[in-house]
Amino acid sequence: MTAMLEVRDLKVAYGKILAVKKISFSVEEGQIVTLIGTNGAGKTTTLRTISGLIRPASGEILFQGKRIDTVPAHQIVSLGLAHSPEGRKIFPKMSVEENLLLGAFSRQDSEINQDLDETYDLFPVLAERRAQQAGTFSGGEQQMLAMGRAMMSRPKLLMLDEPSMGLSSLMMKVIIQTVRKLQPQGTTILLVEQNAQAALSLADHGYVLEVGTIVIKGTGKDLLVNDAVRKAYLGED
């Protein structure tokens, strides 16, 4: 069986600086896979490359067995790959509902309104404020909107870049619960996090990225008890 997403020997450069140095990893269908690492490790760069916003210097990216590393960014979402970017990046001057509809921009089918209702069921806060300008939302609410917007494309694989960033621990719980809810619905998830504890406890598999290189990999459970990981990322000594 081929993996849903496979990254092979990926190198990404900004000018002369290699931000991602030959990494390989894969995401199997139905799994939650996490990529953890400190600031500047290359996590965001990796996701942006998968989405086509940045072109790799070398290497291959396969989604459901097909090369996508030369596909234009705007065509990737309709293949079934959604990306909720770092910093949420909601469209601040548009309403909640308009943001969600933009998530479905690539779709032509007639079930968009039905999915809108489902998103509102998943995040009742959004339903109450569907006409509100998204830029006035709190960080946590924006994160829910960003996730809801990504779900509106009906992705097979959802990539989340630091959904916990700047959130209270209460809000974190809501986000974690949401990720847990998505998995049984058949959504595969690639989760990028600095909050290693939260990410690893959710994940089937984890990869630790350090200055552009994968240094440790294993199941979420194993990594949670791995000494090196505990020292470097879970704040224990």
Binding site: L53, A73, H74, V77, K89, F91, K93, L102
Partner: protein
């Protein structure tokens, strides 16, 4: 009182023309942060497109029904120009430092003026139409269409030029259609998304290149209508007409808040009314027609000093 109303109408008619052109500056700026200084030429070419359509197809017939066809001719000429300009002059510079496209815009502007000036009468329609296109080195009379031009209408002590009604009406219709397009269609929503955050828009599946072309085309449609309006108002057109009109319209866009479509319309109207009122009411040596351009730019300076984001607020350029 009549004088005031008279000047208000004059100002609104002039302002409608500015507003129609200003939308093109603002829409492109909102998406690319590019000031397309060649947009005045898109307006000028619209006027020539309408003229050509009339000369080639109607040969002196100025019945009202020819006007819509002339407008279509104007729109085709302007949109073609704008789309080619985007494709060949600006797109290759998409990632260049901001000065490069700005200088290119000035180059495109001069190029288009000279192209029309030197080559208009050489356009090869003559093989199937016995009509020679006129030389564009001097002003060319613009067809005066029945009903829309002709004797002014008197309402009490106020004189209303028919072409003024056409211009104001054109602005009302174009603004309504534009509002509908931007806020109620999928493509329009995509356009707003690109202007707020282009990369994230791409993650939504929006083809940014396509949206940019649409933005140029949209501005060109309104500029084309303005070109026809100007021809009807002034009775003639010339290859230089895009310069001052373009500069004024750009000023209007800045006054309204560049990047903001409602702002461009409001800015155009405010600028037009200011010019008309200044002409009428400023006494002595600084009053009258010759000084109206001065007061237009004084208004610009005042707005930039006291409300630099423009009347309705510019698009913030703080995308980090």
């Amino acid at each position: 009182m009549d004088t005031f109303i008279q000047q208000l109408i004059n100002g609104l008619s002039l302002g409608s023309l500015y507003a129609l052109i200003a939308v093109g500056y603002t829409v492109v700026y909102g998406i690319l942060q590019l000031i397309n200084f060649a947009h005045g030429e898109v307006f000028m070419i619209g006027a020539f497109g309408a003229l050509t359509t009339s000369l080639v197809l109607f040969n002196g017939n100025t019945a009202l029904w020819t006007l819509p066809v002339m407008i279509i001719g104007a729109v085709v000429a302007s949109v073609t120009t704008a789309v080619l300009m985007e494709r060949f002059a600006y797109r290759p510079l998409r990632n260049a430092p901001r000065l490069a496209p700005l200088i290119t815009a000035i180059g495109v502007s001069v190029f288009l003026q000279e192209l029309v000036r030197l080559n208009y009468n050489k356009v090869p329609f003559t093989s199937w139409n016995p009509f020679n296109l006129p030389d564009a080195k001097s002003r060319i009379p613009f067809p005066q269409i029945d009903v829309v031009t002709g004797p002014a209408i008197q309402v009490g002590g106020v004189t209303i030029q028919r072409a003024a009604i056409f211009t104001i009406g054109a602005l009302v219709i174009c603004s309504a259609l534009l509002w509908y397009f931007i806020n109620r269609t999928k493509m329009g929503r995509g356009m707003q998304a690109v202007s707020q955050d282009a990369d994230t828009a791409r993650l939504m599946g929006i083809n940014v290149d396509r949206i940019i072309v649409v933005a140029f085309a949209l501005g060109a449609v309104l500029a084309a209508v303005a070109g026809v309006a100007q021809g009807l108002q002034n009775n003639n057109i010339d290859f230089r007409m895009g310069f001052l009109a373009g500069l004024k319209a750009f000023t209007a866009a800045v006054i309204g808040g560049i990047g903001n479509v409602e702002g461009a319309v409001l800015g155009g109207l405010v600028l037009g009314v200011t010019e008309a009122m200044a002409t009428q009411y400023i006494p002595g040596q600084f009053g009258g027609g010759p000084w109206k351009d001065v007061w237009a730019f004084v208004l610009l300076i005042l707005v930039l000093v006291f409300r630099p984001q423009g009347l309705l607020g510019a698009k913030e350029v703080d995308r980090a």
